[in-house]
């Protein structure tokens, strides 16, 4: 499919693509445009894509109507902590599973693999009961603990480590490095792409997570942005433009991360797609 095509078919492809991209992006463009309107103008006909007098004030008002600053801080805090723990412990464990030999290794790894295909929704209740018994519901710590130790992370990084040749590590051992320095000084720097993919995947998942925080946090000061927007809709269901402004704000960090690490996004999708 690398063949040069006639100008006509090229044109057709572009028209088709522009049509598809329009469908994909219009809801988001509409969201942004609505967030800059007066409430009464959100549903005017015909649609005003570019508001005549953009109401930037909407973006200030929402910070006052709900504790959005608190929600944002909570979202950042939880996302960053979970990402760090996930990346560190997964890559550490992945090294153990890929490059060390110890009795029971295959059995333990099987345990991990077996739980990958079990959806969280299947065990969310027992996990919640366990956390409640430990007194960890309605606390950020409880949420961090339940999100940080997914089997998928270990699995993905291990796949990558297996491709690192053993001869390389052997040479380092002969040079007198111990396993921890081999991990830190050779394997870790080599695995930047894999770790970046994992980080991005968990960033997006935790930042956008809705069901977990909904179950764990009933106190307002613990809530994250997705819950905050939900709360906002509950209280001010007719304030369309304000709701849209809040929605736009919730997308900005993900959008920024997305723009910065586009390459790794593609990698994270394809690496989770390539199963061993």
């Amino acid at each position: 499919m690398v063949e040069r095509k006639s100008a006509k078919s090229q044109l057709f492809i572009y028209v088709l693509l522009i049509f598809i991209v329009a469908i994909t992006l219009l809801p988001l463009v509409w969201m942004f445009s609505a967030s800059l309107k007066l409430n009464k103008d959100v549903f005017t006909i015909p649609i005003q894509w570019i508001p005549r007098n953009p109401v930037w004030k909407n973006y200030i008002t929402i910070w006052k109507k709900i504790p959005l600053a608190k929600f944002t801080t909570n979202s950042f805090k939880l996302t960053i902590i979970v990402c760090i723990i996930q990346v560190f412990t997964s890559s550490f464990a992945a090294y153990g599973f890929a490059k060390c030999h110890f009795p029971g290794r295959n059995f333990l790894f099987l345990l991990y693999v077996a739980t990958i295909s079990i959806p969280w929704q299947v065990y969310m209740l027992p996990q919640f009961i366990e956390m409640r018994t430990l007194g960890l519901t309605n606390s950020h710590l409880g949420y961090v603990l339940m999100q940080s130790f997914i089997a998928m992370g270990v699995f993905l990084v291990r796949q990558f480590y297996i491709s690192i040749p053993d001869e390389l590590l052997e040479a380092a051992r002969i040079d007198g490095l111990n396993e921890y320095s081999i991990y830190a000084r050779i394997v870790l720097p080599l695995s930047k792409p894999a770790l970046a993919s994992l980080t991005i995947m968990s960033f997006v998942t935790i930042w956008n997570d809705f069901m977990g925080p909904m179950i764990y946090f009933t106190r307002t000061e613990l809530k994250t942005i997705p819950l905050g927007i939900r709360m906002f809709i509950g209280q001010y269901s007719a304030e369309y433009s304000l709701i849209m402004a809040a929605a736009v704000l919730s997308i900005i960090p993900v959008f920024a991360v997305f723009m910065m690490f586009q390459k790794y996004f593609v990698q994270s999708v394809t690496s989770s797609g390539v199963k061993g």
């Binding site: 030999h101 295909s117 959806p119 299947v122 027992p126």
Partner: protein, 297 residues
């Protein structure tokens, strides 16, 4: 001291180092994932509301849910939802992947644009689409009236159209993700295969069906199964858009599990439903596992 250290054989030392690598993750994994998974099996066999002693009831919870019209309906609705989501998403994602595998200007932009809905937050996406779908003055119905449809559907407000509305949003959100998976598979097809085929006198159609299609099958199969599994466990989007309503019109299996777990607090019943979900997903995974073996050999 030194002697004793030497006595620790190399094997034991290596084993200890190995354990030290997996331990930080394993402790957390064991306590917060593995134990709950086992615990859910136990819960499905007891009657318990969270307080007082559990009462072992055997398979009674399973009888209860299959007698519950709401569960049976949720299950069949989930299958309906899954079927359409899988078929539509796969076709569109494949079409997009083939299109975007061409040498085009702004190809990167097109790919990112289609992919972006995947990373946007479910709540934001859900609210926007709810407004777009608004029955009386929403832009979508406005457009439908403009092209001459007098009585456009009520979408999320109507029992009949709520599920199709959710399916549309879910296809929109996830097509970019699967497009990337398929695009990666397309790019794995070596270019020289195409050149060799052209030298042998093959035309484009023959090339597609004889060379590209068979090489693409494993990836397509993977996409279909992934989509099936994710559709079976979907919850967030529906919860945000319709909360399972109107009535029970969009209540899927996970919505059912959620309400039995956290609203009516009948833990045994909800865990039985969770086991049914696990059973279905395990079967899908097993199919994938066997097919993958066959397809890659």
């Amino acid at each position: 001291m030194n002697n004793r250290k030497k006595k620790l054989s190399l094997r034991t030392r290596n084993a200890l180092i190995g354990y030290s690598f997996i331990l930080p993750n394993f402790i957390g994994f064991f306590i917060f994932v593995f134990i709950p998974v086992m615990f859910s099996l136990v819960l499905s066999l007891v009657s318990w509301n969270g307080f007082g002693p559990m009462k072992f009831v055997g398979l009674k919870n399973f009888v209860t849910i299959f007698k519950d019209k709401n569960f049976v309906n949720a299950l069949s609705r989930t299958m309906y939802y899954t079927f359409f989501t899988v078929v539509l998403t796969t076709f569109i994602a494949l079409g997009l992947a083939v299109l975007l595998n061409n040498k085009l200007r702004f190809r990167g932009f097109f790919r990112s644009a289609v992919f972006f809905p995947y990373v946007a937050s479910i709540v934001a996406v859900g609210v926007v689409w709810n407004m777009l779908f608004q029955k009386d003055f929403g832009p979508i119905n406005e457009f439908l009236r403009w092209i001459g449809i007098q009585n456009p559907p009520g979408w999320t407000a109507s029992v009949k159209w709520a599920i199709p509305a959710v399916i549309i949003v879910s296809v929109w959100k996830y097509m970019g993700y699967y497009m990337i998976v398929l695009l990666a598979a397309l790019q794995d097809i070596p270019v020289d295969l195409y050149e060799a085929a052209t030298i042998d006198g093959a035309n484009r159609r023959q090339y597609f069906w004889r060379i590209a299609a068979p090489l693409l099958t494993p990836a397509l199969f993977f996409v279909v199964l992934m989509l099936t599994v994710t559709s079976f466990k979907s919850f967030d989007l529906i919860y945000v858009m319709t909360e399972g309503g109107p009535g029970q019109a969009t209540t899927l299996v996970v919505n059912y599990i959620y309400s039995k777990s956290f609203i009516s607090e009948t833990y045994g019943v909800s865990s039985a439903a969770a086991m049914v979900l696990l059973f279905i997903i395990s079967i899908i995974t097993l199919i994938q596992f066997h097919a993958e073996k066959k397809l890659t050999n």
